[in-house]
Symmetry: C2
Subunit: 113 residues, 2 copies
Amino acid sequence: MVKHNEPVVKENLRGGQGHVVLYPILTAEELMGHGTMYARVVIPPHCSIGWHQHVGNTEPYYIIKGEGTFVDHDKSRTTVHAGDICTIACGEWHSMENNSEEDMEMIALVINE
Amino acid sequence: MVKHNEPVVKENLRGGQGHVVLYPILTAEELMGHGTMYARVVIPPHCSIGWHQHVGNTEPYYIIKGEGTFVDHDKSRTTVHAGDICTIACGEWHSMENNSEEDMEMIALVINE
């Protein structure tokens, strides 16, 4: 089956700045108990996903476009581009900021521990 | 942690034409038993992933660039573009062809039943 889901705008996601746009790929039900979210995420310039913890799951980010600033569990900050993979262990914290002048895009997958 | 995995070239993947390039995102181990493969896949012009079955798992494709032809379990053929999601049920068959003159790219996730 081929489908094309409608985007969802989230304001101040996880306490972040501005808004992000989620393009859902699979629902939790479609992930069949293995995870809770799978989506393309567009972060506009000077917007962010706030600092948040993953308890009982983890959320790798895979960058597909633009430039982001990944804030890791130890608060280290890394500039990331297309092809970069940002992982944390289950139980850890992270955030993602777009401090550039262009949209940045990534694939986010929340998988259970 | 931020990482950037090396691409892997696969000739005649699943019996397909030419080659495809896999950019691994997570290994089976990193998927913690929930799946076996998570990668960005680049299909060059006039190359394809051959017709194959998913027993005990499924593999949604999420198109991020270019134009592909998705061949579904019932052999129906659908032209797909960025933002399209191609799903099959566990146990079903599918393939993906690039009949265009530009690379097409997608995210492939193999998740267990």
